[in-house]
Each structure stands twice: as structure tokens, then as C-alpha cells.
Symmetry: C2
Subunit: 359 residues, 2 copies
């Protein structure tokens, strides 16, 4: 799912996103609640009409955003009191309000309000968050029984909690499952162990959505572990930075080696940039901070991820996903390591500290 936090996939029109063959978009209930307000969107006919998107829309409840407001929030069983990151105004966000917002804007799939914890949360606090998330899910379903609302599974990096939450969530027979609280700073090993622990417990016929995951290699790794859905702010955020997805790793278009490159970003890609324009032109646009550059790079990255899911789907249908994943990751990683080595050498040469990106 391309991410349209504020009812716009950054830099792109809905018509363009549609042409990438993305089936479904994500918007963020927390952001739209604050600006322009869910009531206003409802009065204007709902978020589909507002942003001119005729496919399905899934909304994040804003749990992640509200719990990220460190110092600005106070959590009780009833809900979360927080100050707006925009104007400092005080709000009380409850499971019921999160659902009211999502029902008002008229999304197709809603997320319940969940209690999100930092990656390093200990077992006791993580268990309390799981239990509260289960209670809040019940309140969400009671508040908007007509709205298709996935269950979000938490549990930090504690396998027993992940398993427990997955089993209890499955017993509630939700329309789909979201795996939350991963990709928030834990190790990749932990992330995949937790993903496997959860997907093993879930029924086969319902979608599993790994929240906030994103990169091409993560998508391949997650699909191999039974995940079906993703939301990827990375595609557009990296795009606006000039970082482009290719089968051989990430390319930064600002790099001088693309200054005179007549080739497209990826000759197998059919996006607007790859079919008609050269790396040299994109390099020129980024060098001059031209808005068209941000657009074309965002568009390419989204189309790249959509094509990657198409390739994975075809591989699954042909019974060759294992081979596909192995080849894909080997090629991607190999080049990525070369690039990282080059970057490191470059930074060492300049006498700058490591750890900051060189290209």
C-alpha cells in the first residue's frame, strides 16, 4: 500500500498511483483527525471522493503516531491524552474516537487503536500492552460493528506474547490481522522470528499485514514468512531523497556517475520515468531541486514495489517462490555490499566518521 498519510501520496496524483497498479492505499486517521478534520471530510463525501481514489483505502488508527509523541501524552485504560504536534492543542484519543474518525472518512479497512511499545520493552510491560490492545479491540468492534477492522498483534520481541496475542486475536475471527510493533529498532533476526511466531498461529485464509514495512528485501523476506500486505512510506520518502530501488540495490540519483547516463533507472521497469527518461535527466532534476524529480523517483519506487509483489505472486503460483527469493536477495545483497564498501572507502578517504551515508 502506497502511503497517503494526509489523503495524498506525497508528490503524486491519485491517477498516477492508479497507473502503478497499486490496488489499495493507506491514509492515517490521526493526521486526518487533526487536519483537515474527519467531520469536514465526511461532509465533503468521504476520503475517496476527497482525494479522488476509487479503489479500497485502509486507514491506520494513529496508535503508532499517538504513542510516538513522547512527553506529550498520557495513557490510561480509557485512552490517550496528547497534545497536537501541529498547534499544541489537547486531545483525548480513545478506541471509540479512532473508530469514529475512520467511519466518518469512510475507509474500507480500519485499524483499531492499539497500545504501541518501544522495541526494547520488557516482558511485563509488553504483556500489559497486549492485554490492553485486546480490550481496546473489543471496544473498537463494539463502537463500529459495521466497519471491517483488522486485529493488531503486539507483544514486542517476546515470542510467547506474540503467540498468545495471535491465538487470542484469531479466536475473535477478525477480517484480517496486522502485525504491529515491529521494524521499530529491534534486530532483523528478532523481527523475522516474531513475524514467523505470529504467522504460524494465524488462519491461512485471511490477510496478514506487516505494519510499517517497506524495503524490497524486507518484502521478500516477509512474504516468505507468510505476510500478504505492507505499507511503505519508504518508497516515497526515499524517492524524494533521490534514492531509487533497483534489482541490484539502491541507487542515489544525485551521484555524479549518473550525470551523463542515457539509460533509464531500470530497463525492465515500465514506470513513467523508466519508459521515457534517462538517469541523466533525473540527475539534472535532482541537482536543481526540481519538483518533477521527486515525483518521478517516488513513482518509480512505488511501481518497483508493486512489480516486486507481482513477481512474487507469479513465483508463488508457479511453486518457485523459494528460488525466486534466494536469487533476488543474493543479487540485491551482493550489489548492496559493493555499494556499501565503496561508500565506506569514500568516507574513510575524506576522513569523515563512518555511520553517515556517503552517497
Amino acid at each position: 500500500m502506497p502511503v497517503g498519510t494526509l489523503a495524498t501520496v506525497k508528490a503524486l496524483s491519485s491517477a498516477e498511483v492508479r497507473r502503478t497498479s497499486a490496488d489499495i492505499l493507506l491514509v492515517n486517521a490521526y493526521h486526518l483527525y487533526l487536519r483537515p478534520g474527519h467531520d469536514l471530510i465526511a461532509r465533503l463525501g468521504g476520503v475517496h471522493r476527497f482525494m479522488d481514489w476509487d479503489g479500497p483505502i485502509l486507514s491506520d488508527s494513529g496508535g503508532f503516531q499517538v504513542f510516538s509523541l513522547a512527553g506529550l501524552r498520557k495513557v490510561t485504560e480509557e485512552g490517550v491524552r496528547f497534545r497536537s504536534h501541529i498547534d499544541g492543542s489537547e486531545h483525548f484519543y480513545t478506541p471509540e474516537l479512532a473508530m469514529e474518525v475512520q467511519a466518518a472518512i469512510g475507509v474500507d479497512i480500519a485499524m483499531p487503536l492499539d497500545q504501541v511499545m518501544p522495541g526494547e520493552t520488557g516482558h511485563d510491560a509488553a504483556r500489559e500492552a497486549v492485554e490492553r490492545t485486546l480490550r481496546w479491540y473489543e471496544r473498537c468492534r463494539t463502537a463500529q460493528p459495521g466497519l471491517s477492522t483488522f486485529a493488531i498483534i503486539q507483544g514486542g520481541v517476546h515470542e510467547d506474547l506474540r503467540v498468545m496475542h495471535a491465538r487470542e486475536a484469531a479466536a475473535l475471527d477478525p477480517p484480517g490481522f496486522s502485525i504491529g510493533g515491529l521494524s521499530v529498532g529491534e534486530s532483523k533476526d528478532s523481527m523475522w522470528a516474531m513475524t514467523e511466531a505470529v504467522t504460524r498461529e494465524l488462519p491461512a485464509g485471511k490477510p496478514r499485514y506487516l505494519m510499517g514495512v517497506g524495503s524490497p528485501e524486507d518484502l521478500v523476506n516477509a512474504v516468505g514468512r507468510g505476510v500478504d500486505m505492507f505499507d511503505c512510506v519508504l518508497a516515497t520518502r526515499l524517492g524524494r531523497n533521490g534514492t531509487l530501488f533497483t534489482d541490484t540495490g539502491r541507487a542515489n540519483i544525485r551521484n555524479a556517475r549518473f550525470r551523463e547516463d542515457p539509460a533509464p533507472i531500470d530497463s525492465s521497469c515500465d514506470c513513467e520515468a523508466c519508459s521515457r527518461l534517462s538517469m541523466a535527466y533525473l540527475h539534472h532534476l535532482f541537482r536543481n531541486n526540481e519538483l518533477l524529480g521527486y515525483r518521478l523517483a517516488s513513482l518509480h519506487n512505488i511501481r518497483y514495489l508493486v512489480r516486486l509483489t507481482e513477481r512474487m505472486r507469479a513465483a508463488i503460483e508457479d511453486g518457485r517462490f523459494g528460488d525466486f527469493a534466494e536469487e533476488y536477495l543474493a543479487r540485491y545483497r551482493a550489489v548492496d555490499e559493493v555499494v556499501r564498501k565503496e561508500q565506506k572507502a569514500k568516507w574513510m578517504e575524506r576522513g569523515r566518521p563512518e555511520g553517515r551515508r556517503g552517497v
Copy 2:
């Protein structure tokens, strides 16, 4: 002509600009000479291919830009020595180099290098600039005889110089005429008097291009005085500021009165924004500095100006241009005066000085 200074109409793709029915684009030879360099564009197959525009392209020579670099330049009969506004590097721009750049990037219509003077230039200095511009035009044609190069007519606000330059230029039988050195700070009365003085002297069958002019009301006034072509950075610059052209004057989308407006910018417009989106959505995009807002507003403004030229052409063909212009300007001005009055009242109220734009 939408303005694509750096081989990109700011915020828009070439495909989008094509859909506005704009027939011809403008690029700037001075800017492309500095970045990415005309040689590079030539090696990549020319500017049409570089930016993926298959219609005609006219290039400005960069005379206006070079002469705007006050303090950074030195003018002799041979050419202009200046420092780049980007990196301070020194360059010597001559009529021959300006033509070499335009031939290398492969434009369809070139502009000669001309000597541009400030609006308030006295008679003697303005006459010298006219005479030098005539000599430079000969050098330009000699340097690139195969390139279709308009004659630029200067003369400041001195009617006798404008008439003299127009007559001498007409005698040289160029493919078209550019009226330069207007809309640079002189009064509107002077601007129209000079335009009329020039167009009266020019042959009827060749295009007349009023350089750097721009607003809807200026287009109507200029067409009434025999002008055929314009370049309009205003459409995209105002668009990025959230200022939208309508038949009833300019509207600023950031204004709170559009917060909940379900109507399109202009119900008679067929641009992407007007056919599918509300003022409320555009207001939301601008309020959140979303890039899509800059795009949609730029697109609307260009389509508005293209439609205005279509309406003027139809009125001319029907023999009713006088009535059209009178009605158009009366409606545009009347509302504009109301808006200005409101703005003034608003600023007076806040105790701020007049003269700065209030909305």
C-alpha cells in the same frame, strides 16, 4: 508558452503539459548552458528527448538573465563577461555562444542575444542598446544561418526607438519578432503604447512574441494590440504560491474561505484539478505544503491561459474580439477591485503598511 527554464515546467511532467494543449514550450539557453551544459544535452540527443517533449521548443537566449546579474557582469561590443549565479565561475557570453548553445540543444525557434536595459533607461543609452542589438542579431544569423531566429525589438519606453527598431528588424526579414524590454517596471500605459508602436510597424503574416508577459489580463490586452505569442512563468510561479486564475480574478487557495468549499476552482475548466477535485482538497494540500498542491495549481493556471488563448482565437475568427475583450476585462477587473478593497481593509485593520499583498 509554458516556461520550462531548466528543461522542466516546474512541478509538471511533459505529458501533463501536453494535456493542457500547450503547443510550444520555452526553455532558457543561459540556464541550460550553466547546468547541465549544452554539450551534455546534445550528446543525449537534444532537449526534446532529454525532457520528453515532442512539440516545438523555443529558447530564450538568456540576454535578460545575463543583463539582470547586476554587479556580476561587464558588457562590451564583443559580448558579456559574467559570473555564474550558481558557483561564481566566470563566463564570456557572446551572440555566437548564445546561438551555439541553442543549436546544440536543438530548439525549433531561437532568440538572438540582445542588450536588455532597465525600464527607466534614457534615450541615448536606449538607442545604443538598439543599435548593438541590431549588430548582434546579424552576428547571430551569421553564426547559425540554419536556425530559425526571431529578431528582438528593444527601445525602452521611447516610441521613436521602438518604431526605428521595428522597421529595421522588419527589413531583415526574420521568421518572427520578439518584443523585449517590456514588463520590466514601466507603467502599463507605457507598455501598451510601446507594444502598439511596434506591432503597427510589423508585417501581418509573421508571429509577434511579447517576451515575459504573463497575466490573463495582459494577454487579452496584448492580443488586442496584435500580439500572438507569450511566455508565462507567472502561471507556474503563482500556482506554486497557491494563486489560481479564474475569470473573476485571482483566488488564493490558502484563504480560509475555501476550507470547506466543495466546488472546483472553475466549473468551466477541464483541467485535472477542476474535473476531479474540490477547492477544499486543494486548500488542505496547500495548508500542509503537499507537493501535489503545487502541481495541481500550476496545471490549472497553464490550462486556464491555454483556454484563454483558445477563447480569444475563436472570438477573432467570429469577428467579436472587441466585445470579448471588453467583457472579459470588465468582469476580471470588477472582481479584482473588490478583492483589492477587501485586502486593503484587512491590512489597515491589522495596522500593517499597504503595498504588500494581503492574501
